[in-house]
Symmetry: C2
Subunit: 472 residues, 2 copies
């Protein structure tokens, strides 16, 4: 604008629609952001769905969205107790209805008492409803074998993503060689790389060990840290646990890293990581509703900060307050997830039965996925543990790799696009998460119903065989 | 870490809890963020509430939170139809209950059909549920007298705040003299200043004209723009309409500003601003649930982009997709707000009656606020139009200003803190929004119930008189 104001005013007066904001002029950091999970392959899947609706003939009748871990979209039935309490919270007129169990009513009343104006429609304080922060703290204590958790260190968030971004924002500083570096696992969940790109921080990759079930290798961490020190100032280590896209890292991170530790999720080794707080100085626990209730559309989540400098914690609260508050229905749902019905409550039996059914089905799906993929020549798959994703490795023939390069595509993107076009199966290429040079993967959810999943796995394996033959 | 790794490792080994992240080392942009609406005065209000609960004697029995526009926390009853449909969406088992009107059921079914897995618990696409984007587009068309709106230009968001931040992010570029400048009205809603500080953009102030009911003055815009060009590259003009904290700017912004126009809200002059799209190149409409249903805790909102460069729009979508999706319950609520019951629907009469009652009460409160304040010596208040805030101006005696300076406080902060300590009334000082040098204001919501509001206004006016006497 500065240089051509006269021209533009002229254009404006003549009603021409010259654009002030173009790709060249926009935020270069935003341009550098990549986010494969909802990237071009998902765009193409949407187009294919539209074509199917318009009656275009395809070699498949539906697009199977195995790209994102969205349980309810895959037909997983929500838990009755959660739905009941939320309905009562949303519409308290129902509290007088005989069709809800007593404990659901009591829980709804307890949550509403803690809300402004006794309504989910009111803002909460920016850190989240105090009662729910207390419930989350007690949940963490139970989970971690009694290590105390302070509700004042618990902050509710708009999904785990929001909490991760807020914490990363605090850490970013410096220029050139003193820019903040953040260690992230490869493969990683691309929220990390996208956020670091947007914030102008340096992404420092450390590779998980695929041969040992995606274990975290301390020697590799030291390598990454040592190399990073040449060009940035590493200030945080991210551990994703359970791994997304990979599964659970098997190793513990305990000592020797004087960097804040950001841990997403709290599978298995949560207690060990929190005990390491003294050593690691600033661990954080992030937990989204995503993994727990699988009601990710509510965008609930929390972060626990341990041993954070009090003044920095005040700054974090200030930053959160600019966005007013996390969605209150998501806060309410989080409360139910961290404090489910007790054995003496009327809803306990049904709640447990429904929850166990979901978990048993997930375990069966994980087993099936591992089994079918490992039987397929050229595909290998680590055990699927704790997360709802598999991240199998695929062999791609050299001619397919060449063909992809001609097309300007990552080889696994080429594979996944062909898979989508020919079978309707939508998965995310490993290159969107990062992987060792020369290896190829894709991320697939294990969430479709069991029989549908079996067909999907077999179809995918057959396609891989055909693809391999075609390019051999 | 780079310089003192040895020391820190030592400290770690000895179990000392040296902090890696301190105020000095954290993100300097985050430190510069200020957010008065939930700042120190609100912290103090929380402390006072706690003291009251602990039985500490105070000159008041409750803290009145007139600092934030949270209708439901102030006892405004939510609209029955909205609660019914949301409860049905949250718990579809209720669809078979005879206790809900048919149109509420139909609306819930329509929304659920558009959700993944027919559940609010599923993620939506990142731009929001397509059906709801279409409903929003039709709403905009009706509101703006038929000017077409394209659903593909409508993006749902996590409250209006989220949409504003996303759009501002796109614009930020350059260094030094080419840094992006953004024109914002003074007084402004501090989300703008906070976000610009965090993004490292230049805040360019243009003053609204208090003498003409906070009108937007085009000559003042030109002054601000001209001055800004010396030290930055102005790239966007923000218009907040209805004004927060001030009310509605009476002037139209039409031509002559070849900068993207960001308009929050769409009160009164929405159509004119959208018509100006051709001239102004990139207007945006932002609308939160906040102002409409006053169910801000759901964090619903949308942004309409008009005449945005297609490639930039793709980048915006990518940026939104990193955060997965806006909360789905908030999307559902937004849908109900933009397409309320039609005159032939069973719920129409009750919906209209409840809505009119809310609007009539707000109008009465606006009138009362203006009247009581303008009768008080040393207080003046513009008409309260369209928003739920008043932003009265207060005369503060020179000795009070001196005393504040001794204490290192802004004079209106000093006034508001004293007000809080002596009356329990919590309002936000004008300095948190910006104001002309030497003038003092505070922002107060008009939301408390009418009789409570009257007492509050009178108490506040009496306190001002006493304060003035004390420092004269």
């Amino acid at each position: 604008m500065a240089s051509s104001t006269g021209d533009r005013s002229q254009a404006v007066r003549h009603g021409l629609r010259a654009k002030v904001l173009t790709l060249d002029g926009m935020n270069p950091r935003v341009r550098r952001v990549e986010y494969a999970v909802r990237g071009p392959i998902v765009q193409r899947a949407l187009e294919l769905e539209q074509e199917l609706r318009q009656g275009v003939k395809k070699p498949f009748t539906e697009v199977i969205r195995a790209n994102i871990g969205d349980a309810q979209a895959m037909g997983q039935r929500p838990i009755t107790f959660l739905r009941q309490v939320l309905a009562l919270c949303v519409n308290p007129d129902l509290l007088s209805s005989p069709n809800f169990p007593d404990d659901a009513k009591k829980r709804a009343e307890r949550i509403l008492q803690a809300c402004g104006g006794h309504s989910l429609g009111a803002y909460s304080v920016s850190s989240g409803i105090q009662l729910i922060r207390e419930d989350v703290a007690r949940y963490i204590e139970r989970r971690d074998g009694g290590i105390p958790a302070d509700p004042n260190n618990v902050f509710l968030s708009t999904g785990a993503s929001d909490a991760i971004v807020t914490v990363l924002k605090l850490l970013v500083a410096g220029e050139g060689h003193t820019r903040t570096g953040v260690l992230i696992p490869i493969p990683q969940y691309p929220l990390y790389s996208a956020t670091l790109a947007e914030l102008g921080a340096v992404q420092v990759d450390y590779y998980l060990d695929e041969e040992r079930a995606w274990a975290l290798d301390v020697a590799e961490l030291h390598r990454a840290l040592g190399q990073a020190r040449d060009h940035c100032r590493p200030r945080a280590l991210c551990v994703i646990n359970p791994g997304n896209p990979t599964g659970v890292p098997g190793q513990r991170v305990r000592r020797g890293f004087a960097v804040p530790l950001i841990q997403e999720g709290a599978h298995g080794d949560g207690a060990a990581l929190r005990r390491a707080a003294g050593a690691c100085l600033l661990p954080l626990h992030l937990q989204g509703l995503h993994g727990r209730v699988r009601a990710c559309g509510f965008r609930g989540g929390y972060v626990e900060v341990v041993n954070m400098d009090a003044a920095v914690q005040q700054q974090m609260l200030k930053l959160m307050s600019v966005r007013l508050c996390p969605p209150v229905p998501g806060q309410a749902l989080l409360d139910l997830v961290v404090s489910p019905p007790a054995p003496t409550d009327p809803s306990f039996a049904q709640f447990q039965a429904e929850k166990q059914a979901v978990l048993a089905e997930l375990a069966a799906k994980a087993k099936l996925t591992e089994q079918v993929f490992n039987e397929a020549p050229g595909i290998s798959c680590n055990p699927v543990q704790g997360a709802m994703y598999s991240f199998p490795r695929v062999q791609l023939p050299p001619r397919a790799v060449e063909r992809a390069q001609e097309l300007g595509l990552a080889p696994d993107m080429f594979f996944c696009l062909r898979l989508l076009e020919e079978t309707g199966i939508c998965v995310v290429p490993g290159s969107g998460f990062g992987q060792r040079e020369g290896t190829y993967h894709f991320r697939m959810t294990i969430l479709p119903p069991l029989e549908k999943l079996r067909l999907l796995l077999e179809k995918l394996s057959r396609f891989h065989a055909k693809f391999t033959l075609e390019y051999s």
